[in-house]
Symmetry: C2
């Protein structure tokens, strides 16, 4: 590790940089992501009464065969807790966007099935979502993400 003679030398232990360049870059990245996600979430909530997770769930359901997924599958796809998914399915059902259907072969399993209303709601929300996202990313956010990484590497 080049005996540090001089300028803000990165400090290493083994091959791992200890100082905070990665940390700062990561912080910036999370801020950008959080900001855009908040924007998306607000648009969905205000215009379509959907939370971000609910939107993602509808999206996953609409893409899946027979428009149905089991709780575990939803949880895995959304990287959410099983309990969170259970309650989300409950919300979707309460709004008539999906229904719960018992798995015939495994009576422990529960399918969340997209309703026509759910599909319509999703397709409707989708255009707003895409528009909002593209607008946000069009503002140079991708470039910021990229530059954050460059800073992190120092090159």
């Amino acid at each position: 590790m080049s005996i540090h003679v001089g300028k803000t030398p990165p400090i290493f232990v083994g091959a791992i940089p200890i100082m905070s360049k990665n940390s700062d870059a990561w912080f910036r990245l999370t801020q950008i992501v959080a900001t855009v996600e908040a924007e998306l979430g607000k648009a969905l909530q205000v215009e379509h009464g959907l939370g971000l997770s609910e939107y993602r769930a509808l999206e996953a359901l609409s893409r899946s065969a027979d428009s149905e997924l089991r709780m575990q599958e939803l949880a895995a796809h959304l990287h959410l807790n099983q309990s969170s998914v259970s309650r989300m399915a409950e919300r979707l059902e309460r709004e008539g966007l999906a229904i719960r259907d018992l798995c015939p072969d495994d009576k422990r399993g529960v399918y969340t099935v997209l309703t026509d209303k759910g599909r319509a709601r999703f397709e409707n929300a989708r255009s707003d979502f895409e528009r909002t996202l593209n607008a946000a990313l069009g503002e140079g956010e991708w470039e910021e993400l990229l530059s954050a990484r460059l800073v992190a590497r120092g090159d």
Copy 2:
């Protein structure tokens, strides 16, 4: 491969791509970020009894002049709601990591001041945080972020 002639042409209306490539890439990005953040959060919580926001707050305080910031400044830095910051400051105070101090010149203002205990806790957590982050990013996550973006542009 830059001049994509004939391959999966993006669909445009005006200058805005309508299809879901950005959406998919964004989804992947958020998943990666959420996963790493969860990892960081768990490490901080388990090892140091700190939430992610609290860690960031301590970091900001430790970097600021006199180790103190007003609620608004903290809120702006963390991109958090004022009420959230107010309650976070309360938690920090309850644990003795910071104290509230009235602004002498503006009696509406409240400084959150880092205590020695708070600084020690932060410095302690910091090494775990950096290690965890570097480990996570070392697993090729930066590259994934990057590739997500490349997919989004189609180049």
